[in-house]
Amino acid sequence: MYLYNLTLQQATGIVSAINGNFSGGKIQEIVVARGKILSLLRPDELGKLHTLHSVEIFGCIRSLAQFRLTGAQKDYIVVGSDSVRIVILEYNKEKNVFDKVHQETFGKSGCRRILPGQYLAIGPKGRAVMIGACEKQKLVYVLNRDTAARLTISSPLEAHKSHQDSTGVAAGEAQKHLTFYELDLGLNHVSRKWSEQVDNGANMLVTVPGGGDGPSGVLVCAENFVIYKNQGHPDIRTVIPRRADLPEERGVLIMSAATHKQKSMFFFLLQTEYGDIFKVTLEHGNDGVTELKIKYFDTIPVTASMCVLKTGFLFAASEFGNHALYQFQAIGDDPDVESSSSTLMETEEGFQPVFFQPRGLKNLVRIDQAESLMPIMDMKIANLFEEETPQIYSLCGRGPRSSLRILRPGLAISEMAVSQLPGVPSAVWTVKKNVNDAFDAYIVVSFANATLVLSIGETVEEVSDSGFLDTTPSLAISLIGDDSLMQVQPNGIRHIREDGRINEWRTPGKRTIVKVGSNGLQVVIALSGGELIYFEVDMTGQLMEVEKHEMSGDVSCLDIAPVPEGRQRSRFLAVGSYDNTIRILSLDPDDCMQALSVQSVSSPPESLLFLEVKASIGGEDGADHPANLFLNAGLQNGVLFRTVVDMITGQLSDSRSRFLGLRAPKLFSVKVRGRPAMLCLSSRPWLGYIHQGHFLLTPLSYEALEFAASFSSDQCAEGVVAVSGDTLRVFTIEQSDKGSYTAEEREAARKECFEAAGMGENGNCTMNQMENGGDDEDKEDPLSDEQYGYPKAESSKWVSCIRVLDPRTATTTCLLELQDNEAAFSVSVCVLFLEDGRSLELLHKTQVEGVPLALCQFQGRLLAAIGSVLRLYDLGKKRLLRKCENKLFPNTIVSIQTYRDRIYVGASKRRDENQLYIFADDVVPRWLTASYHIDFDTMAGADKFGNVYFVRLPQDVSDEIEEDPTGGKIKWEQGRLNGAPDKVEEIVQFHVGDLVTSLQKASLIPGGGECVLYGTVMGSLGALLPFTSRDDVDFFSHLEMHMRQEHPPLCGRDHMAYRSAYFPVKDVIDGDLCEQFPALPLDLQRKIADELDRTPGEILKKLEEVRNKII
């Protein structure tokens, strides 16, 4: 079995975030590391976050830092990862990619304790960078620039401390030290300038600005204290204020820090592990720092990193749950609880604490949030809504910020308006008054016997002075020439000049117009019976009839290609006929209406659209690739057919088709981020657009639409107006991220086990959380738990509940709160006895001796794993009755699955198959986090190091056990090597690089192949698709091989080594790497394609095909 790994939703959690001007100039940007992904975010003036670029680096990012050379305008990014290389990146604005400026190797690969990469520090003037390991090793690189102003990097200078403590003797009296290093540029040497003992609870350092800006030195954040230290300066110590309800034994630790520096002042924001932000200021003068003040600022969810932007925003990258962008309302100048070094009281019991009570936000206001699914604790794929494709139900977040999110593949949209219309409209258009206008002037809606004109202004209202005929239906409305409007109705064409003059053209005889195609300068109409009439706009703006052409039969659809820049007319007209053909006709005066090519298709075309695609790598302003003209056709059988039109000859080549839905797709041209895109309306809407060089076809998370047009007004620059039923809808497409999923947050509440209504499945995740007493909390409460967290309790206290949810209405149909602390896990036994799918009834409790971590139904009875004992229970009247058990598992069992008469058991260190006689087990010890039963002989599993693997029972063993009347009893009794008599074979092995918490086999598209989907702690979703043909396997493994050679990962990790981080990768092809192919420069694409004996186009098509099999 060969699998293709593809990430469906990139990780959403954030490891680290830095801010700076990465594209140069004044624009504030944020670079975030999401585990193995590096992305660049930019908040716009209104405070909406946009993702500009996102790239998978096939490595694990541990730290990020930014620096700027003196006098430069642009920040560079230093990445500390597991590649054991120091990598300096620069954001390339033109190409919209990160360019690798330097990559220096300093060790062998891995994420190990003496290999630098965990910590990064930048010299105050951007002259040097120090990269440190958890233990011992520190390297310093000197940064400079050469005569051409390019960044240079020196060879590394070692700053290690050479002692080691392998015996642990010194560890007993271990003392943390704070050391200042000095780089002597003249001697090219790093010296330990000064070293002093610090508090043993120290966990973070914050640089204090020096030179003209401040007193220099550092803030040492330690448990409960912040200490100012500098060479030759006495320590200034302040206690961190604590929440009044915090248990005495708990310390307060600073988790993240941000510095704000202006010309005249600077301050620090420090956030504690409970989410409280403190503003730290220093009083300083000529004789150094005199006072250190910590003032309560605000409380937001705990962050992994905070960034204060110069534009007055605070970006908070949450540890778990959605990230947020806050705007500063004030900088905490109002009086509040404050702790100061000058009032620090030392008593006999230690330092006197300062208490405060968290309050509502005063200095910050949240203006945007970025969705984060982190951590996905469990995930089920089911089609509860009976839609075309199944939904993914995931349990995200934790504690008070946990939620059940329903994910659907598709782009997020935001609905701006829905209005009722007097009848059922058939079509809608938008039109500008002048070619140079930025915004549309009218929305025109056509009904069965009338046309309604709405003018767009401050409000949208009906007008009658537009010149459009409102007593007939319309077939097309568009801007013609520079400033005149055209209305095509069944009996003729109405041409409305800018000054209000109206020219009418009437159809000859009783024939009516059935189809129209136009592009602003050219118009073609099709009359009933199959006659085509071609019009052109002449110099004076008149619409002139140019040519007539008789087709063999009725025309089903028409489209004219957009006018190429600098040309008078476009050369191509596409005509679809009911005889299952599409013809390309020429519109050139020389060979007007000559057929250039014919394409036969599987079903009559319903809609045609020419789309000019610049398959660029998506720089901000567009393309460096030549444009390609694509002809798209929506066929009546629901298939979208795409083919490339040769720009000169009009020949059609390289066709691809994809099934979109049950209705014939109607195609409309829209704009997404200023570039042409295509909206396809089938039984659900789809958007075809360019993303990082790929043409992607992605469904929109919206209901089925009838007709659509692009829409632009001063409220929304790139919107879509559409009709559906008797409503008119205006919406915008939120973001065009690759393969993004939209999550509907159904309910934010505490959930540990969820039982999708009507399904006999339970996902229980072991979360240790405290609940805040009763259920009386109010969402509007300024002190909501979502913001402030639950009060901390001892780690032995448990509170949990079982909830049955109806996903349709997002209501809880049953809530079972578990009472005593001790009973919390054993009680979950009763989950299996689902009463009627709507509510649960507590039947009885059964006391067991350990914590049952896994439960499963097996032949009408209950299998429970209690510690390392697997036991079969039957339902009794008062309690469960013990039937049989197996005590021979070496470790705690964490999952059980059954199929027919086999039981598949995942033990936290070993995976076994069991018939109450273990008959086969795995040879590799594993820390299992998720497992899924694939087929009778195969299991998929994931371990906590981020590996996914499949194991299979050898065929002969499987046959043997089926034939054996004792079910393997005799064989088991003989035993072998303390384990089961037979071993399973590992057939697939892959390092995902993220901790997989749930696995499920599912098919995400109707008629598509089944794949294994996984959800991870960092909030990403991925799929493993089995290949069906040997050819594909060959092709993709070669493509992967060439990609590894020609396009090594950005941060210097060897791709093969990364995917084999714990076990050698086996039979999995990394689709994420293959999908970077379109981002390569053209010559490199061609080189790889040549090696594979194909054209780059064929490779792109192949990549698209395999993606379409999954989603």
Partner: protein
């Protein structure tokens, strides 16, 4: 140390062990071995953020607190089995 000693295998090994913390040798006792394993494990947890997050969820702590705890443990592992005589 004499010049010839510099090239004998033992001194090279010693040099390597000084340079690469955690490298094993023939005389490694059980305690040292276990300390190395544990320190490597903690450092690996600190380096792999998803794993830290997983522990944080299980222990209901913030990720930063988990990292701090692991770091404190990594630095101060004293004994893996109580009562074991430490050979210096």
């Amino acid at each position: 140390m004499q010049a010839s000693d510099r090239f004998n295998i033992n001194s090279q090994l010693e040099h390597l062990q000084a340079k690469y913390v955690g490298t094993g040798h023939a005389d490694l006792n059980r305690f040292e071995w276990a300390v190395n394993i544990q320190r490597d494990s903690y450092a690996s947890y600190i380096g792999h953020y998803p794993m830290l997050a997983y522990f944080a969820v299980a222990e209901n702590e913030s990720i930063g607190r988990e990292r701090y705890n692991f770091m404190q443990k990594e630095k101060t592992i004293k004994s893996c089995s109580s009562g074991y005589e430490v050979k210096c």
